[in-house]
């Protein structure tokens, strides 16, 4: 035996032996470094700087990088904690053979320094590659073509090194404090944690479990009422939001901490001691671990819920870009008054096929109060005196051919989700026109979302009336006549050519704002495609960043669950050994474990989905016009990615069970 083995040699030797238990920790480190580095690099990527500009977007990137730092810190510290738990025996052994605490701390520190710096090198290399992919994704989102080069940024590297060195320092300090505080005995027995025994449940715990369910329910209820009244002061709104958050988060913890074990113990008792092998491996294990797991399951649930909500909100705005553009500019091209007809001539010259809609518009002063639904009518704060746009049936016949009206009847078009939130009206009631002949009632047969006019020039909705009545209104001095021409391309594939023509023939016109005689709006000939691209431009960065952070959150939470399951599997190896000896097959044991996994992964997921659903439901109108599709797509993708971690952990369990005998 070599007597004078230096500390460094000892470290290297133990690292070589422990390489298996390191790989997870190293993975966590490399993942964090590459994520952070590739994200910071984005700020300095020439393609981003050129295409999206530096000012606003780099501020957004910077803000996001702080958030990312938070995720990375959380993740790395957690991974370190698990890593240290796994090695507590080894650390105890070092002390048992007579090494001083400070020597052990130094040993671990040296080891960490080696691990971290190799992780930084690998992580930066990986990040270099992934950042290029991220830039390409970002440019794809905003629909811009640019050549993306592999760019290496010294600034980003410096930042990464500084950030992770600081984190490393924290980890070393944390470990040293831990080693200093813990007694030798406790260190050696850490892995054999005494599970909490569910002995008796008192009424108080039962009550707390119930409180958890109630507060989640009440939080959900509050969330559905949050947009009911937009006229409240910001303070009230903030208070409401904080209460919802506190109720759902607190409720989630209570459910995990008290309700779950309570219900499971009840089920266990009902079996009167005759439990199947599946119950043994799911029910009783979950029940006994609930106290220790409640906090982390709550964290994972809440993180999943917020990630999902943010992702859904952003995806809603992205997904809605088309329909928002459609509402803002309901035709491929729109011209106002007599301006912009050069475009028509150019289209003819270039052979671009289109359908033309000429719409005569009348701004008529009106009162919508009689149209309001009951509850809204009681609210005195809503202003109901509006300038309503009126068109004749004939003018829209070729766009909406199925309408039939008699004099005194009308249709309402363009009543969309946002106007529905502000003024809620219903059909089979009357609207009141204020003409020079006095107040005239028009009976509204139907209210639809069909689009006729750009909704941002003409707020609210459009009323269609019979042709004869329209002629009468036309001659009324209280009304104002306007002209709108819409053009719809016949061939979708001529869009690019049409856009080129449009760009070359931009003109604008002064247009009076409806309901306001003095002010005018500068309005150009408008293109739906242009509007959509402008929206993507301003949204692109937000979408990219939240997508990126969402993914980082997902991977971090998923990995933490996976790590936790790995150490749980290791801790339960003894159980599997006993069962295998007694003659239970790997498959029988796995069927019980799968049930447990279903709970460990499924329960936080389902509660997280429910939380995010209510969060999204309460505020989605502020982000876009489409709810169902983006919500389902986001949730679906999230579930699929999340399941990968449960499949991975099931694989690990199988390995442990197979090796148990």
């Amino acid at each position: 035996m070599v007597m004078a083995m230096t500390l460094n040699q000892l470290v290297l030797r133990s690292m070589r032996k422990n390489i298996k238990s390191y790989y997870l920790y190293v993975f966590a480190l490399v993942f964090s470094v590459s994520l952070y580095y590739s994200f910071v690099t984005l700020q300095y990527n020439p393609a981003i700087v050129n295409e999206i500009g530096t000012g606003r977007s780099s501020a957004a990137l910077k803000a996001a990088s702080y958030l990312l730092l938070f995720i990375v810190t959380f993740f790395v510290l957690y991974a370190n904690k698990l890593f240290m738990n796994r090695r507590s025996k080894e650390i105890g052994l070092y002390q048992l053979v007579g090494m001083s605490k400070s020597l052990v701390a130094r040993l671990i520190a040296i080891e960490n320094i080696i691990l971290w710096f190799s992780a930084i090198v690998i992580g930066v290399l990986v990040g270099l590659l992934t950042s290029r992919i991220f830039v390409m994704i970002l440019l794809k989102i905003v629909e811009k073509d640019a050549f993306v080069e592999l760019s290496f940024s010294i600034e980003a590297l410096m930042m990464t090194v500084v950030v992770f060195s600081v984190l490393l320092l924290i980890v070393i300090l944390q470990t040293a404090i831990r080693i200093k505080r813990v007694t030798l005995l406790a260190l050696i027995t850490t892995t054999a944690v005494a599970d909490e025994r569910v002995k008796k449940f008192n009424a108080f715990q039962m009550f707390l479990g119930f409180v958890g369910l109630i507060s989640i329910g009440y939080g959900y209820y509050l969330s559905t009422t949050i947009l009911d009244n937009l006229n409240v002061t910001p303070n009230v709104l903030l208070f409401k939001m904080v209460s919802i958050l506190a109720l759902t988060v607190g409720g989630t913890y209570f459910v995990f901490r008290f309700s779950v074990a309570l219900i499971l113990n009840f089920v266990r008792k009902s079996k009167k001691g005759l439990m199947s092998i599946q119950d043994v491996l799911s029910l009783s294990t979950i029940m006994h671990r609930m106290k220790a797991n409640a906090m982390s399951l709550t964290t994972i649930t809440v993180l999943s819920a917020s990630t999902l909500a943010i992702l859904t909100f952003t995806y809603i705005s992205y997904y809605s870009a088309d329909s928002v553009a459609m509402e803002a500019v309901p035709y491929d091209y729109i011209m106002y008054e007599d301006t912009g007809f050069e475009l028509v001539e150019e289209f003819d010259k270039e052979g671009i096929q289109y359908t033309r809609y000429d719409i005569d518009l009348l701004a008529v002063p009106a009162d919508v109060r009689p149209l309001l639904v009951k509850e809204a009518a009681l609210n005195k704060t809503i202003s109901t005196e509006l300038g309503v746009q009126v068109v004749s049936l004939k003018a829209i016949q070729n766009k909406l051919p199925n309408l039939h009206l008699q004099e005194g009847e009308g249709y309402i078009l363009g009543y969309n989700s946002l106007s529905a939130e502000n003024i809620r009206i219903e059909a089979q009631k009357s609207i009141q026109f204020n003409t020079s002949a006095g107040e005239e009632e028009i009976f509204i047969k139907e209210v639809t979302e069909d689009l006729l006019l750009p909704n941002y020039h003409y707020y609210g909705f459009t009323v269609v009336v019979a042709d004869s009545y329209f002629q009468k209104l036309l001659h009324d001095p209280l009304t104002k006549n306007q002209k709108v021409v819409g053009m719809e391309l016949k061939e979708e594939n001529q869009l690019i050519k049409a856009q080129e023509v449009f760009e070359a023939n931009k003109v604008s016109v002064e247009m009076p704002i409806p309901g306001n005689d003095l002010a005018t709006n500068t309005v150009s000939v408008e293109s739906q495609e242009n509007y959509r691209l402008n929206m993507l431009d301003s949204l692109g960065m937000t979408i990219f960043i939240s997508g990126f952070l969402g993914l980082a959150f997902l991977i971090a939470t998923g990995s933490i669950l996976y790590f936790k399951q790995m150490s749980e599997a290791d801790e339960e190896k003894g159980t599997y050994n006993i069962l295998r000896k007694m003659g239970f097959t790997t498959n029988e044991i796995m069927s019980g474990i799968r049930r447990k996994q279903l709970f460990n992964f499924g329960f936080p997921l389902i509660i997280g989905l429910a939380h995010s659903y209510f969060a999204v439901k309460s505020g989605w109108v502020l982000f876009g016009t489409e709810l169902v599709a983006p919500l389902l797509i986001t949730m679906g993708v999230y579930i699929v990615l999340y399941s990968i971690f449960s499949i991975l952990s099931a694989g690990y369990y199988r390995k442990v069970v197979e090796d148990a005998l």
Partner: protein, 253 residues
Amino acid sequence: MVILRGRKIKKVFGKKSNTQEVLKDIDIEVREGEFVGIMGPSGSGKTTLLNVLASIDKVTSGIIEINNNNLQKMKEQKLSKFRREQLGFIFQDYNLLDTLTVKENIYLPLSVGKTPKTVSEKKIKEITDLLGINDILNKYPSEISGGQKQRTSAARALVGNPSIVFADEPTGALDSKSATALLSNLEKINKEKKVTIMMVTHDSVAASFCSRVLFLKDGQIYSELYKGDKDRKQFFQEIMNTQGVLSGDGYDA
């Protein structure tokens, strides 16, 4: 009737250059209703022998038959089923599941088969009455004594009416009073219910409860003692004597 038959059992550990022959061509036979003890110094291969006989470990070569089932010919799946239905196990460190109550632990071997619940309840009651643990059925293992744990473990091994029970140092972690109580119970069950038991031990007192004791040395059966009509004290003396001859250099018990 012969319950267990082993022919030329060989077990080699390690790889090519660094192998160690732990069991060297052992022949063994156990008849129905026997209570067989296996003794021998540390490293003589007693636990390895028990493990391969109990199908927990695989032999390098040789044949093992239990109830005319050739263990070597069975696949993993079938072997597990066989183990569950025909064998019972008692281990030194009890091997109870901490998350289950005493009753739930005992029920485990019955949980997969198609035993009706009322029959299971009856079987559990019968065996726990016999072992004197029917008043702790709803306690968790952490709440009971070592002796009670080992009796729970024995109840679990016996509840499924196995052809043979394997016990690996069942008294190793018990004080002498609990050990004697457990062994008396096993002896009683062996005699009354004709359960075949095979027990590894290095404790001569424990071995004196057996009807036959095998002595292992360096992977081979060195000698064999039958209790016959002798009482326990005489048999114990005989075991001690054989051990003395066997040891020569440092017997560990």
